[in-house]
């Protein structure tokens, strides 16, 4: 399941919802990305996105994870709009029978999301406002999964 929303999410409630009524889950992994103030330089971050395509891409990434690992559940929640240091940006929850699938799938989801979901961060703070530049390391992280699939 995927969601794009302005509101914050309740991590405990999201994990409980994933587990609710199920006895077949043995491992739950969660990742939360949050806004950094970068040593006081950033006071605000605004996330712009491409409504419609963001949801399509997140669903596609989720389906790819479901195809690669035996997952009991998979959740991506991404926030958009204006956030402040310490605020949650993104939540990924994966659940599986054993921990390896949940750990690997959570990392895969984040690595892929960072290079394909159409979202853009604009930071503002004491030095003005600027669009965050893409990090080439993120492309490398996503590419490693393609290499593993080809092996």
């Amino acid at each position: 399941m995927i969601r794009v929303q302005q509101n914050d999410f309740d991590i405990g409630a999201e994990i409980e919802a994933v587990k609710a009524g199920r006895g077949d889950i043995g491992a739950v992994v969660s990742f939360i990305g949050t806004v950094r103030d970068q040593h006081g330089a950033i006071s605000e971050m605004t996330l712009e996105h491409y409504p419609g395509m963001t949801e399509t891409e997140l669903s596609r990434i989720e389906q790819e994870a479901q195809a690669r690992w035996q997952l009991q559940a998979c959740l991506i929640v991404h926030r958009v709009g204006t956030l402040r240091p310490g605020d949650n940006i993104v939540l990924v929850v994966t659940a599986s029978e054993h921990r390896d699938a949940a750990f690997d799938a959570a990392k895969f989801l984040m690595d892929y999301l960072k290079t394909s979901a159409p979202l853009w961060k604009r930071e503002s703070g004491r030095d003005g406002a600027r669009w965050v530049a893409a990090d080439p390391k993120d492309d490398g992280a996503a590419a490693r999964w393609k290499k593993r699939a080809a092996e």
Binding site: L47, H78, I89, P118, W120, K121, W131
Partner: protein, 83 residues
């Protein structure tokens, strides 16, 4: 067709969305970028480093050699930075 611009591409172009009707010889994303750049200095500026601009046709990522025939919605944006 409808064209959308996001993030700094939108800011530099000075527009978020518009309807365009390029001539038939504009067949690919790369050719559409060249056509857009010729429309004015703000587009020339937005697409100055066209190699870094990403494109989507009908909400799917495409390369610059993708053909645009039949596209309903084309989007241009910088490399994504979510997560």
């Amino acid at each position: 067709m409808r064209v959308l611009y996001f993030a700094w591409v939108k800011e530099k172009a000075g527009i978020a969305a518009e309807e365009i009707d390029p001539p038939a010889e504009v067949a690919t994303i790369a050719e559409l970028i060249d056509w857009l750049k010729a429309r004015g200095p703000e587009f020339a500026n937005a697409f100055a480093r066209s190699e870094v601009i990403r494109a989507a046709i009908d909400q799917s990522h495409v390369r610059h050699d993708a053909r645009i025939e039949g596209a309903r919605e084309i989007a241009f944006f910088p490399p994504v930075t979510g997560g």
